[in-house]
Amino acid sequence: MLGWFASDFFAQSPLLAFPLVGLTIFITVFGVITLRTIHMGKGHAGKARIQHLASLPLNDSNEEIQHD
């Protein structure tokens, strides 16, 4: 099935491989960078810094209005 799909797809033009290669490269690089970023600042100082930054909106005011 996949073989038939591939041969039918590329029968139109072998150049159709280029967008697929491009998409694969993009997804790979994007994935690697995402993983790297997710893992950055894993040390104690890094964790504390990230927690501080992520909490900035929560620590910026005095009052809290309660909804009914």
Binding site: P19, V21, G22, L23, I25, F26, I27, T28, V29, F30, V32, I33, T34, R36, T37, I38, H39, M40, G41, K42, G43, A45, G46, R49, I50, Q51, H52, L53, A54, S55, L56, P57, L58, D60, S61, N62, E63, I65, Q66, H67, D68
Partner: protein, 778 residues
């Protein structure tokens, strides 16, 4: 640590919210009216309140008045709190507020009067454009000044998005608005034809990106954690979200011009970057939705979270649909149809409208020190608006796909199955009525919110929050802290790696396919190995490059400018450079002075809102409209008139297809010659006149833009225009005893329509000596 007590300037946010809600009602009401005009043509009230003039008013009002004021309210409120500093200047804040409202009022007056540049979402004329630039600078000065006086060193992700907004909108607006004035309320774009199309959609798409998306994402990153009472799901993911989004978005504009006369390389760039955009957009959506983890139960009762959750869902849906529509084969079906209208409104009503509602319901009780007047009303608003959006979007999907399929439907012998364009219009009428119902429901919900917010404000009193903050600003503390030199950040390892990979990929424009493949593989390898090397060489006891960057506002801004500009420069500069070369080899001829005058009438009436002038390379398009449009066809069009929607047929090759009398009758009463047409009548063009003497200045400005008029043609323009006008008026009199003043706008617009897609006839070019035949433009 020594502290001091400061009071935030919350008054400015209250005023911006009031303005946003007020203009939101106006903009959405006009939206309901234009929806009615498409379903029921009799509701057009020409000349000032017909569809062509009201549609730009609707788009400008909702984008710049409703969302604009909303984002200013949110930016000012959150920026002060995230930076722990009061706004730098109250005076600048008020100049910003009143300047922006004056611009909106100017738009509300000029657009119904037909004073427009016809560039979508950038219709306002040059004096207003200058005012927009000045007010934006005031906003930027106030923001960056506050940034310089902050007490919180690290910039939260919301601030990054605000910086990108400030920079990108300034660049987009200034470049796209470049024009030469003809008079106090008219100008011609310095770009023409295909260049103008590219610049306009670079602007148009990125107005969506940097006015309707990035600031609202900043607002999401601030207000959603507050409303959910938990930090953002992944701060690290927001770094990816930000940089990938601001870098990729700016390249995507050409997806509005697929299958047009825009060069293939630009179309492909637009399509590829649009598909890539899907990844960071969904990264942001996931980050938003996962921030609600553990708070989902509160959605049942809390209208703020309901609106936020639905808004982020609509953001995800719209940012999936956008890349889908950018794929060429999908665009072939969807472009010029109502599908695009549905897509736009999923974003505008679902993402922007719901984010605004959530933010207002959260902010107003706090800004007035009270509780929301009616939770029940807010919940009803949510359900009404959601149902309204669904009706709207689904009806437009059905209409768009129906339209696209009917346009391309062929009979067994290869002819068009629906050769009469009106058949495809009439088939959509039920969907237009359904859209009207959906839009009205949304509007009713919005009015309910306005009432609820008003009652909330009335039940409390204005509160400007006071907080304890560190006494010293960062400038005061800077001397006592270790400082990373700016060049180590600007030329840090991640930037150098990005530049190297980007440079390698840039060479693809100059090499053959084999070399391209090799370079792509090399670039991929460099990116991968570089990332691994960065990871391995990082010292865990030191802050990361990005952590250092987040504490340096100026360096952060410089890198953001770089990320935003690369795409625009890469696409626009080559087009502008080749533009002057194309002018030297064109086979086209400039418009006659009267045709130029008629073109201005076409622009003023907003004909481009319903008619395209771009025949795409499809059999069903050439069978219906004629030869495929080329870049040369519109080379003298300042601004271009390719359009983006076909409520009526394409007009690129309308010239010579029908008689002057047919056009006259059609404009006076479209239904007389096209039974069932939903076009408004333009009988007023017969009564409205122009001065032949005024045409000389128009031709002169066109000449200064590179349109090859001779000095003699400029000087003779009024006489040539009058001669051509008398010929047309006399012809109408002879043919059907119709008395039309030669200096009427009717005569001018007929001259323009008869010129579309063909070279001048001897009648339209009094100086010409060619044979009296119609020639198609090559």
């Amino acid at each position: 640590m020594e502290t001091e007590r400061i009071t935030y300037n919350d008054r400015i946010s209250r005023w911006f919210i009031g303005a946003s809600v007020t203009w939101g009602i106006v903009g959405m009401l006009v939206g309901v009216i234009v929806a009615l005009q498409l379903a029921f043509w009799q509701s057009n009230l020409p000349p000032y309140l017909s569809f062509g003039r009201l549609r730009p008013l609707h788009t400008n009002a909702v984008i710049f008045a409703f969302v604009g004021n909303m984002l200013f309210a949110g930016v000012y409120y959150s920026t002060q709190r995230l930076l722990k500093a009061r706004l730098a200047s109250d005076k600048l804040s008020w100049i910003h507020f009143w300047g922006w409202q004056s611009i909106i009022v100017s738009a509300a007056i000029t657009l119904p009067l037909g004073i427009t540049q016809s560039k979508e979402y950038a219709e306002l004329e040059w004096p207003i454009d200058i005012a927009i630039a000045l007010v934006w600078v005031v906003f930027a000065v106030n923001f960056f000044w506050t940034l310089a006086r902050r007490r919180e060193k690290q910039l939260y992700v919301a601030i990054w998005f605000y910086i990108a907004t400030l920079i990108a909108i300034a660049v987009l607006h200034i470049v796209n608005a470049l024009a030469i004035p003809v008079g106090p309320l008219q100008s011609y774009s310095v770009f023409g034809g295909v260049q103008d199309a590219l610049v306009q959609w670079w602007y148009g798409h990125n107005a969506v990106a940097f006015f309707l998306t990035t600031p609202i994402l900043g607002i999401m990153y601030y207000f959603l954690p507050k409303a959910a009472d938990r930090p953002v799901f992944s701060y690290r993911l927001s770094i990816i979200h930000f940089w990938a989004l601001v870098f990729l978005y700016i390249w995507a504009g050409p997806h509005h011009l697929l299958y047009t006369a825009l060069p293939d390389w630009a179309q492909t760039l637009g399509m590829v970057f649009s598909v890539m955009l899907w990844a960071p957009s969904w990264g942001g959506m996931i980050n938003g939705l996962f921030t609600l983890r553990g708070a989902w139960d509160r959605l049942r009762t809390d209208p703020v979270l309901k609106f936020f959750a639905a808004a982020i869902t609509f953001y995800g849906m719209a940012t999936f649909e956008g890349p889908l529509l950018s794929i060429k084969s999908v665009s072939g079906l969807a472009h010029y149809t109502d599908w695009i209208i549905g897509h736009v409104h999923a974003g505008a009503l679902g993402w922007n409208g719901f984010m605004a509602a959530g933010m207002f319901y959260w902010m107003v009780p706090r800004l007035f020190g009270t509780k929301l007047h009616s939770q029940k009303s807010a919940n009803t608003h949510f359900y009404l608006a959601t149902f309204g959006i669904l009706l709207y979007v689904v009806s437009m999907w059905v209409a768009g796909v129906t339209q696209g399929l009917m346009w391309r439907a062929q009979t067994e012998d290869g002819g068009l199955m629906y050769p009469n364009f009106l058949e495809t219009v009439l088939a959509l009428k039920p969907m237009y009525w359904t859209r009207l119902v959906g839009g009205t429901l949304y509007f009713v919900g919005f009015v309910m919110m306005a009432w609820n917010l008003y009652k909330t404000a009335r039940s409390g009193a204005p509160v400007d929050e006071e907080v304890e903050v560190p006494a010293a600003t960062l400038q005061d503390a800077a001397s006592s802290q270790p400082h990373t030199p700016w060049h180590k950040l600007v030329f840090g390892a991640p930037v150098v790696l990005t530049l190297v990979v980007g440079g390698m990929l840039s060479t693809l424009a100059f090499v053959n396919e084999m070399a391209s493949t090799f370079i792509v593989v090399m670039a991929f390898g460099v990116a991968l190995l570089g990332s691994i090397a960065l990871q391995l060489t990082r010292k865990s006891d030191r802050p990361t490059w990005h952590a250092l960057l987040e504490g340096r506002a100026l360096v952060f801004t410089v890198l953001t400018v770089g990320a935003v500009l690369i795409g625009g420069v890469a696409e626009i500069v080559p087009m502008v450079v080749t533009g002057s070369r194309d002018l030297k080899v064109t086979k086209n001829k400039p418009y006659s002075p009267l045709e130029l005058q008629g073109r201005d009438v076409y622009v003023a009436e907003g004909c481009y809102t319903c008619h395209s002038q771009m025949i795409r390379p499809f059999v069903w398009e050439t069978a219906r409209y004629g030869k495929v449009s080329s870049a040369d066809d519109s080379i003298f069009d300042h601004p271009f008139q390719w359009g983006s929607k076909r409520t009526g047929p394409d007009l690129a090759r309308e010239g010579g297809l029908r008689s002057d009398l047919w056009h006259y009758r059609h404009l006076v009463d479209p239904r007389e010659v096209s039974a069932g047409s939903i076009m408004p009548d333009y009988a007023h063009l017969e009564r409205h006149t122009f001065k032949f003497s005024g045409i000389e200045a128009k031709v002169r400005v066109m000449r200064s833009l590179g349109v090859p008029y001779s000095v003699k043609q400029v000087q003779q323009a009024p006489r040539d225009a009058e001669a051509q006008a008398i010929l047309i008026a006399t012809g109408l009199k002879k043919e059907a005893n119709v008395e039309v003043p030669a200096d009427s706008k009717m005569v001018a617009v007929i001259a323009y329509l008869q010129r579309l897609g063909r070279l001048p006839t001897p009648q339209s070019d009094p100086g010409a000596t060619n044979e009296n035949t119609v020639k198609e433009v090559n």
